[in-house]
Symmetry: D2
């Protein structure tokens, strides 16, 4: 249940309500809200005089639901906005991993050349083997910060676990919580303490219900700037790396109020399929696309097979522009 | 292995090769072909003088593979062509089930009004419960035939099992083999004996490898007119009916030579998601779309929740036209 | 809804009820039953005087449910019984495919030596490729019949599609409907017309709900002798061929009244795992086990990797006996 | 590649090898080992004189593989041993969450009464919703420690994220890394720094390959005391909470050298199926079983539906004893 409190509520009463209802207390726009478990369907009558409005839910998808907030959340990055009623589709590009200054600068220049806004690059790689390249860590974050300064790009990078979450929050413009980390409350609760935008990737074994509930960890802690990212789920099919769940995206568009970014690169796992899938994603009218591109994919230290080279990325961009136009979307 | 025989091969030698290699013999265009298991990687040297060419494969996806035939197969329905180098995307419409003359005629008029070419409607419904509506059977086929005559539309309808396969072959223009019947050799082998186009739907638990091998049953029997249809696979996600596998479609576009039709209606299971998904499918550049539409969906005897009403179908068509134009595709 | 009719119901009234309720009419033991869609929750009051009892259901799992018949169905094969309150666990053995007389006779002798009752062997193989060995067909059924005569064994063999269902019904003691054919109404309806036991294998993409509804096709047609067989479902895990769903078996034991046979050979796909899994299956207290064994697995024409050799089968039998004893089960 | 170093290797050479091969260095029993990526198949010839032995692998499942260490690892908890050649099967019991002193003491007494050794109880619950009960945190760990002192039981409890991993390491005898946290390198690397036993649960979307690689994070850091726990994977079937993957367990038994504990409670999600599944697990000959039991399940603050009450747990124990005896296993 979400409860909108009266403006003049006494702090003593508020504290009692929070305690008795085991509720989160946040301010959202001009509203003062309490959020309880969706199991609570009715407010004790003693509290009724303290509230202006209330919303009852079937499940714990509450703050992120259209039945609470019917308009899409807008994320303001300063130079660019995501979601809301902007009709923007951000095309985020960059390598899987930040590997070296020259490499990431090459990516930054590519984006700049195409008038794009956001650079991606992993520094803390959530590899499934200890024997693989694990990322440059904080050194990578510093290289990304350099690119922000030099090229005026916004930066998105992934947090792997709670031990370095503060560094990622500090040095990025959008904090990415990866598919393997999205249940991590150490990360989610830290991201709830900031106002920086957070992009949560759906785990490959994660239901849509759980996905939106991960967002609730951030939203109920007071950070409204959450973006959802579908990047493929694990199914029986092995010819492709994962299965991009666009039916799930249609569900999110219908029932959630959060902006949506799609990641066809990880879903497909092979560069040959990325252009066609990216067009499909764009045609769904989503708020963003995140595409892996590397100056020299076959030399990449991670995800070599799925990254586009810069020539392919430019060609894809060129094909997306008329498609975006015909759909009334701005590719930024 | 596929073997291209010399023109002047003696029938005695041909018979011996077929027997010894346990091979299928077909004529394709002007070629005389033998097809064996892909386990055979080398031809016995005694036969070498009888062949013009040979292709070796990693798997039993042979006739349907780009490594055998690099161009997309064209299906000629007379009034309309599918695949090949036509840049056509057929928009097939109609109800889940043929229920009554008035209903199916309403569907036929809708298609005619929009200048579309192919009418769908199920007569033998592969329901999972014996207690559900099972379809009108041959009576339904007769109603569809009437629509063909009256409106000049082509007809696609589904065969449920081998007991009525001859009727479906006789009365349709495209034989649909449904997701639950696609391993049925009684059906596949019967469809191999005709030259009528066959659209094979991927089973919801079927791998891409098995999917293309189902096509091989028809192709190796001598019918080259096979279309593949992706309609959603079964995954852990239950908010939507199935999960449309567009990564799999990208794989098929890369490795198979068969035209592809997509069915977002069955994948999604809910009408609200069908328009966005249909646009995504179109943007992938596929050869066809099959969309369920019913004059009055809430009264439908099957799949009530996923059928568009005719107003929604027209609106979707209107949105698809500029998208198709921007992609260089003809919506027919 | 299942309706138990009064003994003296007039045939005119019965016909009217069948027509109006769109119901199946069967005799079960001494009862006269009508079965309608589970969507019908209440009987029209005009019919109330004609009935003795009625059962209402949440889903179309009706005749197969414990809420209709609380005791497990018993299948009587003459020489051996399955299910009911027998505490029997049948250990069915034999090769994947019947390949030759010598081979199948070797299997028959093995079973005889161990005092087992039922011989398996495929004749119509539902291969996913047209280029693989497809089985001996009717010739195989004849060889199995010979083994029945010579060794007093009961025979189970699989029907692939509706074109040969009559032959399989005629020449087997248990008709097997395989995982790929279990939605095939041509087969299911034919099996409903006989009283021969039918073992339905769960499709690898089939939900438990659909699985029991496949049984309803046979039961509602008047054949009560249905056995369910779990043989592994398709999941994201590829180290093993399928994933044996013993949680699903626990659900079936709780909610269905049909005997259950488990097939660890197909689930695992590799002989090394079959003994441990077979013990797990036995410990669940199921009514039967079906294990593939071949005199010389590496020469087998199908499923070479998962078949035990006869030495391994004997060793497994030896280990199962004390386990069965400790569980109070008879291995027959 | 795993490399066994010569005893007398100079530290300068060792450092150079580590650096050049990007290798982990551990001492295991009396051996000095370097572990590199499995991508390295051959040692630079300059290093050959410094090694005694080497093992080459197909994948990064190296230290945990039977091809490196053919015997099962033994975990010594002092009062009880797990794995090795003990023939022990530990039956771990206790509630989903530690809720109160009285509750957890009731569980401790139950185990003591049955001569069992290890008490489970969650303190940091990895709930998927922020609005659910999140566990007692450190207070719960203190209650578990009390039970250790008072009843001589060993304690297993779960770490949710890296923010409290030190507390869990300090206050438990076996550190549990849950299904949602098993990719968390903050946790895995912390557990590699201790010698305390670590039980890693397989994620519900985790492949067997990734599962064993999670163990490699701990093993390659120098902690050999790793146990694997299968607790059900997520599949299309929704009648049960998850699908217990016993085929996967057979694979682990064949290819991994780590002890295995099974968790049928979480897999099934419903108490009615737990006894039959537990017997199946025991019959596979695994090293342990972990079963949720609560003094009053319907009042439990988490997982109410799947916990046995104490009467049911005792009855299950009673049925397991003869089964264990017939299998030559000690239930401890």
């Amino acid at each position: 249940m979400i409860i909108k409190l009266k403006k003049n509520i006494e702090s003593r009463v508020l504290d009692e309500m929070k305690l008795q209802l085991n509720a989160f207390h946040i301010k959202k726009d001009t509203q003062d809200l309490l959020i309880t478990s969706s199991g609570i369907k009715e407010l004790p009558s003693v509290f009724e005089k303290n509230i202006d409005d209330q919303w009852v839910f079937d499940s714990d998808m509450q703050l992120s639901s259209k039945s609470f907030q019917n308009t899409k959340t807008e994320i303001d990055l300063g130079t660019v906005k995501i979601g809301g009623n902007t009709n923007n589709t951000v095309l985020i590009g960059g390598p899987c991993s930040v590997e070296a200054e020259e490499q990431i600068e090459s990516s930054a220049k590519l984006l700049k050349e195409l008038n794009l806004s956001i650079l991606r690059g992993g520094c803390y790689k959530p590899r499934t083997s200890p024997y693989s390249f694990q990322g440059l860590g904080k050194e990578g974050l510093m290289l990304l910060s350099e690119m922000r300064e030099k090229y005026g790009l916004k930066i998105i990078s992934e947090v792997r676990d709670a031990t370095h979450v503060k560094d990622v929050i500090e040095h990025t413009d959008i904090i990415q919580i990866g598919a393997k980390a999205m249940y991590d409350q150490g990360i989610l609760r830290a991201c709830a303490q900031t106002q920086k935008p957070v992009m949560i990737k759906r785990g490959f074994g994660t239901s849509l219900q759980e996905f939106t509930q991960a967002a609730e960890f951030v939203l109920s802690g007071g950070n409204p700037n959450v973006i959802l990212c579908e990047r493929g789920i694990r199914t029986f099919e092995t010819k492709t790396r994962f299965t991009l769940d666009l039916c799930g995206v249609a569900w999110l568009q219908e029932f959630s109020n959060l902006p949506i970014i799609l990641d066809p690169s990880h879903a497909m796992g092979y560069a040959y399929g990325v252009p066609a899938l990216t067009k499909a994603c764009l045609a769904m009218g989503v708020d963003g696309l995140i595409i892996e591109a590397h100056p020299d994919p076959k030399e990449a230290k991670s995800d070599a097979s799925q990254q586009l080279n810069h020539q392919e990325f430019k060609k894809l961009h060129q094909e997306l522009v008329p498609l975006a136009n015909s759909l009334g979307l701005n590719l930024v």
